[in-house]
Symmetry: C2
Subunit: 184 residues, 2 copies
């Protein structure tokens, strides 16, 4: 998604142990589905390592980082903020507006909560968006939101500096060295 403004995913809240895999999956989903960067709380170092390891092996560009103040990231964000929440407006009603802002040059911060999100996040967000108003999964909500934001173009992206590449197959598994792996 290099030709457009940044899309950054901010994971809000992380309980070590209990949330490890969900937080990691938020980061890997952000990477696979076209975001440019993920920001984790600073107690999620294990998730950071996993995402960086996947990016090293399967390619980028994608950045992962930690923050000791997610609230400051939100407060100081220069662009638009989308907070994904089951209490928000319906994604099918607001996605055109969000996409228009992004394509118009606004960097997007996508805020993905875990447990209870404080009210100021709802207020700071330009859009509170529900991928359904049903309880399900922050990973699922993020995935559908990104696929709709990019209208499927994220599936066509090329990966740079990968050392391996999965070849789509009708049956079975095929992994090959990436063309550019020789240059490493």
């Amino acid at each position: 998604m290099n030709e457009t403004s940044d899309v950054v995913v901010l994971r809000l809240g992380h309980r070590p142990g209990r949330d490890d895999r969900m937080t990691t999956h938020v980061g890997l989903t952000a990477r696979a589905l076209g975001a440019d960067r993920v920001i984790f709380p600073d107690n999620a170092g294990g998730s950071l390592e996993t995402v960086e390891d996947i990016t090293d092996r399967f390619g980028g560009p994608f950045e992962a980082e930690l923050t000791d103040s997610p609230k400051a990231i939100i407060r100081n964000w220069e662009g638009r903020i989308v907070h994904l929440t089951m209490y928000g407006e319906r994604v099918q009603d607001v996605e055109d507006d969000v996409r228009g802002a992004h394509r118009g040059g606004e960097p997007l911060l996508l805020v993905v909560g875990s447990e209870k999100v404080s009210f100021d996040v709802y207020e700071e967000a330009d859009w509170n968006v529900g991928v359904t108003n049903q309880p399900h999964s922050e990973v699922a909500g993020l995935a559908v939101f990104l696929d709709r934001l990019f209208e499927g173009e994220e599936l066509e992206g090329e990966w740079e500096d990968a050392d391996r590449r999965v070849i789509p197959m009708e049956t079975g598994k095929r992994v090959e060295p990436a063309d550019d792996a020789d240059d490493q």
Copy 2:
């Protein structure tokens, strides 16, 4: 999705403790995004309880059940089988075929693995499908696949026998008793 053939999600493999939340999120995502039923391995009773509890409170129809033989579910399935895997064909290349089969009356079994999936699953599947050929999250893959299968119609569904309903809001949270809660 009552007017069409069933879409059933089969969670393959579950390691108690480690996979609890992922398995629960597979079930909740299946429910929220238009599948009719989820089948968990029989060691995932906690996930079954959570999904049933959410269905009791937020509505259905949606069924959750356990099986002691996921392989038998696959072997005996009358309809088509989609196995979601990062090694599969690209979702954007095969989704029309899958949708066509489903709309033509074929019940769909969507197989969602956790760790290593045995080769016979790849062989039994009518389609092995990758929502990207990148490592990310089985929950994200399932979510995008369902949203594409139903072309967003799953977001318009009505929920029956709910006792509460979340009202989409620009800011804040609003939960109301469901209209049909009086009948309970």
